[in-house]
Every structure is written in C-alpha cells, then in structure tokens.
Symmetry: C2
Subunit: 337 residues, 2 copies
C-alpha cells in the first residue's frame, strides 16, 4: 500500500496525494476530500523511511537524560515522551550516567538518527560554544540552564527553576522555624550543575542571616545514589554535630538522609528537621512526609517539548523559562523550641 496505490484508487497523480499528505494549500478541496477518503479506505500508512530519505530529515527528537537513578527525571521522561508522540514526532531516548558527557551522546545520536532537535534532561550548566559545535540541531535544556557557560541566550532554550534562589528559600524556611545550625546534603558542590547552584543558595542564605558556614555540616556524597547519601549523613551524625536541620538537594537523597538520621538516633523532625527540593509523589507517603519545594515537573516537560517543536517548525525562537517551585509542607520540619 503506497502513495501510488492511493493515487490510482482515486484517479489522481502521486503528487496530488503527496500534497494532501503534506498539507500543501494548492489542492482543490473536493479533490483533497477524495484523496483523504481513499487514504482512509486503503488504510494507507506513509512510509517514514522514504519520507526521511527524500527530505533528509527524520521525525526524531532526541532526549538525553543524565542521571539514571533520578526519579524526578523519570517522571519528566514520561511526560516528554507523551508530548513528543502527540505532536507527531518520534522520541529517541538515551539515558546516560551522571559522569557521562551528554553533548557527546547527543552528537552521536544526532548523526545516527538524524535528529530534528534534542531535549536534555539534567545536565551541566557550563557548555561552551566550542563543545557545542558538534551539535547542529536546536536543543532545549530542561531543569537547567547555562549559568556557568558562555552560550548566547539565543543559541538554545531552557526550562529551569532558579536553583540558587530555591535553595535559598528552603534555608529561609528552616531559619524561619528557628533553626540556626543547618546541614546540607548534596552530591557535588562544584559539579557545574544543580548541586553547585543549590549549594551557593544555601551558603548565601546562611550569610544573609548572619550565620556562619560550617564545612563540618556539609555532606558531599560524590555520587547521586542513595547508599552514599545514607553513609554520608550517618558520618555527619556520628561526628556529633549540633545541627538541628538539613537541606537535601533532592527528595531521593532526603529519604536516605532521614533513614540515616533515624539510624543514628536522631528523630525527624524532633531532633532534626529536613527540607528537600523536588516534590516526588512518593514523599507524600514517607514517614514522616517530606517538606519539599515542588518543581512543576509536568509543566516543565510540556514546555520543553513545546519550545523545541516550535523551533523545529519555525514558529518560535529560543527562549528561557524560569519556573517557580511550591512549598509543600510535610512532617519533616519542626519549629525549634
């Protein structure tokens, strides 16, 4: 069943059918109707390979997700996937480790799959023009932006929260509840990524309130897995520090942290309050529930796809969206007596 059969079926030429298929305007409406009907009757499905061959563009959008253990990114993938298909594109998903080079991965993907564009889920904030030369299709960074790099604003799109500011807010919240000695848990304070920005926000908030930064209260796990978060916080607790609160960089790590505190005899929130950033559904059901700044995951994913397809289709240009989190009060924070 090819375009030729359809053409024969309703007595027009292949080009007319092709025109209908591609929504070209110059087809008489009654002919268009006839063709459309023939397409339906024949159960015709266009051959994407032939299409891609002649136009030398596929229908593929690459999604490169960095951080395989990250539940928040998993939830983004779901929405992104749905949106991409809904708009008639094909998603080519590539999940890579936190240490891996997402630009490299995207470049390979682009060549092999003839991508129309790329959505990065999680990644570094410090791309340079230099390394992005390999990537010649439009891309949008979801959950981050180019804070530490030298990219021109109109060279890419981004959808992100203001990590520094949000971490700041989280610390403000703890301080507002009477806490002064606030620990912090993150993977890497110099990762040129989320960790670094949120760490900056943490320090800034302390400073603004005239509180000293105490390195002994900072836990840097070096990797983004639960085990190392757990072990890090255990070590923190064992050092016997007098902290009464903890800021965790993400909900997942917060879960590990809460267990570590528990196992080391510090009850949450009576002995130590915990705040995180993410807003995973599961943390509505932990014991205690987690106080966390919820990122608008669904909207971030939708917007990313929207922005990219707008650019691909020439109906939009690169933009940078800043989202707000919403504090979801849980049972993990107590007011300090």
């Amino acid at each position: 069943m090819t375009i030729k059969d359809v053409a024969a079926h309703c007595g027009v030429s292949v080009s007319t059918v092709s025109r209908v298929l591609n929504n070209h305007p110059d087809v008489r409406s009654d002919v268009r109707e006839r063709v459309l009907r023939a397409i339906r009757e024949c159960g015709y499905v266009p051959n994407n390979s032939a299409r891609a061959l002649v136009t030398s563009r596929s229908t593929a959008i690459g999604v490169v997700s960095r951080g395989v253990d990250n539940s928040f990114l998993s939830s983004l993938i779901r929405v992104v996937s749905r949106q991409i298909h809904q708009r008639g594109y094909t998603m080519v998903l590539h999940q890579i480790a936190t240490q891996a080079d997402e630009i490299q991965a995207a470049a390979v993907l682009q060549r092999e799959k003839k991508l129309l564009g790329v959505i990065f889920l999680g990644g570094r904030f410090n791309y340079t023009d230099e390394e992005l030369r390999q990537l010649t299709v439009p891309f949008v960074c979801c959950t981050y932006t180019n804070t530490f790099g030298n990219l021109a604003k109109d060279a890419y799109s981004s959808v992100s929260i203001q990590d520094e500011r949000e971490a700041h807010k989280a610390v403000d919240y703890l301080i507002g509840h009477g806490h002064r000695r606030i620990a912090v848990l993150l993977d890497d304070p110099a990762d040129n990524s989320i960790g670094q920005l949120r760490f900056q926000g943490y320090r800034q908030a302390l400073e603004e309130h005239g509180l000293p930064y105490d390195p002994a209260l900072a836990v840097f796990t070096g990797s983004y897995d639960l085990r190392s978060a757990y072990e890090g916080v255990c070590a923190l607790a064992e050092r016997g520090g007098d902290f009464t609160a903890l800021l965790a960089i993400s909900d997942s790590l917060a879960i590990a942290a809460i267990k570590a505190l528990n196992d080391r005899g510090r009850r949450v929130p009576q002995d130590c309050s915990v705040v995180a950033i993410d807003g995973l559904d599961i943390t509505n059901y932990t014991v205690p529930t987690l106080t966390t700044l919820c990122q608008p995951a669904e909207e971030m994913a939708c917007q990313s796809v929207q922005m990219l397809t707008d650019i691909i289709e020439g109906t939009g240009s690169h933009r940078h969206l800043l989202m707000e989190t919403v504090l979801r009060p849980g049972g993990s924070v107590a007011r300090l007596a």
Copy 2:
C-alpha cells in the same frame, strides 16, 4: 558523505562497499580492509532511512510499558533501553496507562515505525490469538506471561516471576513469623494480570495453612496509585480489623500502606508487619526498611532484549523464562509474640 563517496575514495563500486557494510562473505579480505579504512577515514555514517526503505525493515524495537506510575517498570526501561542500543537497534518507547490496551498500542506502533519486534513491560495475562492478529512481529512479555490466555507457547516469549508462587512465599514468610490474620493490598483481584495471580497465591497460602480468607482484610484499590492505596489501607485500619500483617502487591503500594497504618495508630512492625514484592532500592531507605521479595530486574530486562534480538536475527526461538525472587529482610516484619 554517502556510500558512493566511500566507493570513489577507495576505487571500488558501491555494491562492494555495501557488501562490506553488511558483512557479506564474498569480498576479498584486502578489499574489505581497504573499504573499512575508507569508511573510517571519511567518517561515513550509513543512512538508516535509505537502508530501511530498500529492505523495508527498520532498526526499531518497540517497548510498550503499561503502568506509568510504576517505579519498577521505570527501572526496567533503563536497562532495556541500554541493551537495545548496545545491540544496534533503536528503541521506540510508548508508555500507556494501566487501563489502556497495550496490544492496540503495539499494533499502531508496528505499522507506523515498522517495528522488528516488541517488548511489553507489564500487561495482561490473557491475550487471545484473535486480538494478537494485528501484531505480526515477534514479541516478548517482560514481567508476565499468558496464564489466562490461549496463546501457543511458541507464539511469543516471556520473562516473568511465578507471581502466584511468590505471593504464596510472602504469606508463608508472615505465617512463619506467627501471623494468622493477614491483610492484602492490591489494585484489582480480577485484572487478568499480576494482581490476580498474586491474590490467588495469597489465598492459596492461607488455605494451605488452614486459615480462612476474610474479605474484610482485602483492600482493592481499583487503581495503581499511592493515594488510593493509602486511602484503602486507612479504611482497612478504621474498620478495626484484628490483622497483624499485610501483604502489599508492590513496594510502592507498601510505602503508602505503611504510612496509612502509621496515621491510623498502628506501628509497623510492632502492631502490623508488612511484606511486599518488587525490591526497589528506595525501600532500603524507608523507615522502617521494607521486607520484600526482590525481582531480578536487571536480568529480566537483559534477557528480554536478548531473546527478542535472537528471534529477530533468526538465532533463537520463543522461550519462556521463569525467574526467582530473593527475599530481602527489612524492618517491616516482626515476629508475633
């Protein structure tokens, strides 16, 4: 950069280059070497569209995942994705709701993307030949098999645990710890899927131990989300039943259950023990940690891809793999005094 350029580059015809590209045996080895080098030097990347057009087969493997909220399936997707790409195929992922029809989804995907095969992640156990007629490529069911359907064993592959037997084991474990009044939490006891089989295992175990099945101790949520699990178990606790243990169909639901029990004044494990099936990493860090039967997720995913590619490449035939879970003792089970 096309096959033609490569051919010109080393003074052979396009057909010879094509032969090298496709590992045909009838190429003199020195010519093969020369071509290979030219390919490398030119940085030539085959055009998959052209290839697909002429062979009328793509390089795409469909992955249809049913149950979008399911963390266990998310972890499978990661491994499946990696494996598919490693073997040189392209993954086309489609995530659908638990209520949706995965066969229908796969059929559409097959037509549109010219799939070589399909991997189902989660799904019903009751396909009939009838409804599978739309699906003309080989497929493997990962995490389930055709218990309630009429499929011939050699018409498909499967990788699954013995759900009935594993649920049975979980209940045995509780009974072995002195429990007699054991509640059960699942989405749907007649879903022709995992829920139904595990429910059967639960009832069978009770029966074998001479314990009555009490419908008042069964929570059927109707859907697979945390909120309804939470509410269901709250209602169960409020009914004031004298149960001392609970079997949850999955780790996620167990988390919601534990919170519900807590919120209704039943401590876990002192007042109520909880066992689940899955083995998510996160439940190593809940408070208390979850006693659960761990499915070998990584291996299940690997095997699924392996089996499918073997069939696609003609080096294997349909098989049915049964995996074993491993009990991971946690803090959610106490011996009944």
